[in-house]
């Protein structure tokens, strides 16, 4: 049983076909990088996996932990351990980050039939994690992503990843727009997260993130399907030659 199995997936956004016959397998303990030019369908794949409204699966199968995902509500996928780190995390004014994180964690515990964690214990954990990610714990009191810098928003995504301990983390261009310090913090967070029990799907346009997070597999996505797969050396080839050879 694979952690994630995608078989012959076709998906449309607003009626426009984007993913075409995409197949992919991620085992527990693996990090897969998905690379490709703009418009190749990388973010669509991330959103389809997370069940975002508007992203319609027209054919094919996706199963996560042996459960078919199509038709499962986004919150149920999240509770089952599928995590999406957003490319553009949205702001929720007035809702404190801490309140949001606690509600998210409680929903995960409730789905497992577990008792909610005490507020004190949870807050301690969240503060310690924030500090370790270079965030002032005071930022937990601010509104979710409200007035955060680009780097803070991405660190906040990694904070959520580490707090919620999912089985599969899908990172949608988490490296975009980050300075080198933030990039290293994000990479350190992912490396800290990775274990033999979970998997990571790393969606990125650039190879530079892969200097910090070493993938087991690299896939190249073009026009909605995977056109090449290899080990980390494939990423180096892409860095040297660009994506132009895809259309050649």
């Amino acid at each position: 049983m694979s952690l994630l199995e995608v078989d012959g997936l076709y998906a449309s956004v607003n009626g426009e076909p984007i993913l075409k016959d995409l197949s992919l397998r991620v085992e527990a303990g693996e990090i897969h990088a998905i690379m490709g030019p703009n418009g190749s369908g990388k973010s669509t794949l991330a959103n389809v996996l997370a069940g975002r409204p508007g992203y319609e699966v027209t054919a094919g199968q996706v199963s996560f932990n042996d459960t078919a995902l199509v038709d499962v509500a986004p919150e149920a996928r999240a509770q089952a351990g599928l995590f999406l780190a957003f490319q553009y995390p949205v702001e929720i004014p007035g809702v404190s980050n801490m309140e949001f994180l606690k509600a998210a964690w409680d929903s995960h515990l409730a789905a497992q039939g577990a008792q909610p964690e005490s507020a004190v214990g949870f807050m301690k954990r969240a503060r310690a994690l924030a500090t370790s990610l270079g965030l002032n714990p005071e930022f937990l009191k601010r509104g979710v992503n409200e007035g955060f810098s680009g780097g803070e928003k991405k660190r906040n995504e990694i904070l959520q990843l580490l707090l919620l301990e999912p089985k599969l983390a899908v990172l949608d261009e988490t490296d975009s727009g980050l300075d080198i310090d933030a990039l290293q913090t994000v990479a350190a967070g992912v490396n800290r997260f990775r274990s033999a029990d979970n998997g990571v799907l790393l969606i990125t346009h650039y190879q530079r993130l892969l200097n910090h997070i070493v993938p087991d597999r690299v896939h190249v996505l073009n026009e909605g399907c995977i056109v090449a797969s290899g080990d980390k050396h494939l990423a180096e080839k892409l860095e040297a030659e660009g994506y132009a050879w895809l259309s050649g």
Partner: protein, 485 residues
């Protein structure tokens, strides 16, 4: 802890039960004879009867206001009964033991700590709230009377105050909201049945929160309660008001008048959580809530603040206001008004700056969902004498879905060249992206909406007494049910 009147809100309109008590109800219709009858029922002195009759005369010559942004068929004022009292109270019980047990059970269901002894025994932590409960038109019981009396605070039904403190009632009744102020205020002045009376003497800080709980039970009855609160020099009082009504297919009229008077350095904090039946999802039934609330800061450096969380009523027409007469006096208005389904709300405030150095703050949060219409209407007026007056208004609207409406009608009339008046307004929508972020973290959409809306209202909830703030959050959650997906 069940000391809050709105502790009862559940998955739907849980307060929508009808209590089966024999009641003493006047036949529908309004005439001089009816006004006299109401006065006689209450064994009122002649001055009170005359006051009512004068108001009745003025009302007859008036027409209902039509300027609010609400739509409803004309009300037939001859089809309403103007007095309903639970029968068991016709002989005026002298203690709770004499109250109809069915009534007491009703209050238990609603979570009101009516039973003084029970509350004092403190199975849970004894609530520090004294309650006056008004059922249909009559005040049922006032708790903690003895403890308040020790501090010199008078807290009783206004029908009782007419007899026990006529000098105060005569001096202040109608002094803030004159009989002819508006159509519904005139109607209330003629037929008001009961309500709360509070007097906090000079220099006294009221030792507990005071609370009135209103409920309309009887079919085809209007509720016209009258509340009068006086804080003498240097006094402080915090007052909470909660409201519910049974679910009925027909509309019911609620036309209350609340008057607040603050003398030198006095402070009155008035909080309302209004959960009158809003009608069903198709817009059938519900309360018409046409209420006049006004406070007068008569004394220097006095302060009156209104905090309201409005989720109920089919139609709301309500503008809790402050007349800032005393030098340096302060008026505040903090409001959350939520409308869903077919509800209509036209609500806001008036801040009338008459004295020098007067200050006012208006924070209004309107949330519209379903097919509802939600309007903020506010007036800030400064007179030439209001030197250096300041007002700050912040008016935010949040929309859920595409079928609802949010409207803002701010009026500014400035005659003081040294006044500073600021107005900020925003309109936002709960976005699909916000919802999806929450869902992706495992939070279901209803909980997510409730979190987002509560975040939006935070500035106002902060002003509510602690236990009310928690309940207000829950109430919003319940009121928004079905507002998403």
């Amino acid at each position: 802890m069940s000391e809050s009147p709105i502790d009862i809100v559940g998955q739907e309109y849980r307060a929508g039960f009808v209590t089966d008590v024999a009641s003493d109800t006047l036949p529908p219709g309004l005439s001089e004879a009816v006004v006299r009858h109401i006065s006689a029922k209450k064994r009122e002195p002649a001055w009170m009867a005359d006051w009512r009759l004068a108001a009745y005369g003025k009302w007859r010559a008036m027409t209902p206001p039509d300027w609010a942004h609400v739509r409803f068929p004309p009300i037939d004022f001859e089809a309403i009964s103007y007095y309903s009292a639970p029968k068991s109270l016709a002989d005026a019980p002298t203690s709770l033991d004499e109250v109809d047990p069915e009534l007491l059970r009703t209050y238990e269901k609603l979570g009101i700590p009516l039973h003084e002894r029970e509350a004092l025994a403190g199975v849970v932590k004894a609530p520090n709230v004294a309650v006056d409960a008004v059922f249909d038109s009559v005040s049922i019981a006032t708790t903690f009377k003895d403890k308040l009396a020790e501090a010199g605070v008078i807290f009783c039904p206004i029908s009782e105050a007419v007899h026990s403190h006529p000098e105060l009632v005569r001096k202040y009744l109608g002094s803030v909201v004159p009989q002819q102020d508006n159509f519904y205020a005139a109607l209330n002045s003629a037929v008001f049945s009961d309500g709360s009376f509070v007097y906090v003497p000079e220099g006294v800080r009221c030792p507990m929160e005071l609370s009135t709980y209103f409920r309309i039970n009887e079919r085809n009855t209007g509720q016209f309660e009258r509340t009068l609160i006086i804080a003498d020099a240097g006094a402080y009082v915090s007052y909470l008001e909660g409201c519910t009504a049974p679910m009925r297919d027909e509309n019911q009229l609620h036309a209350a008048v609340v008057e607040l008077v603050a003398l030198d350095n006095a402070e009155i904090k008035y909080s309302t959580v209004q959960n009158w039946y809003p009608g069903d999802a198709e817009g059938k039934g519900g309360i018409y809530n046409f209420v006049t609330k006004r406070g007068a800061c008569l004394g220097a450096n006095s302060k009156i603040s209104w905090t309201q969380v409005e989720t109920g009523s089919a139609i709301t027409w309500k503008y809790p206001s402050v007349v800032l007469r005393g030098a340096g006096s302060v008026g505040e208005f903090h409001s959350v008004a939520l409308t869903n389904n077919h509800q209509q709300a036209d609500t806001g405030t008036k801040m009338i700056h008459l004295g020098p150095g007067t200050r006012s703050t208006i924070i209004s949060k309107g949330i519209s969902a379903g097919q509802s219409q939600n309007s903020y209407r506010g007036l800030v007026r400064t007179s030439p004498a209001a030197k250096g007056a300041r007002n700050y208004t912040q008016c935010d609207s949040l929309l859920l879905g595409d079928a609802c409406g949010a409207h803002t009608f701010p009026y500014i009339e400035n005659k003081s060249p040294t006044a500073t008046i600021e107005h900020e307004a925003t309109t936002s929508k709960v976005s699909d992206d916000q919802l999806f972020l929450c869902q992706q973290r495992g939070i279901d959409p209803e909980k997510a909406i409730s979190m987002i809306v509560n975040g939006f209202c935070k500035d106002v909830f902060r002003e509510l007494p602690m236990e009310f703030a928690v309940e207000a959050g829950k109430l919003l959650e319940v009121s928004l049910e079905g507002a998403v997906g």
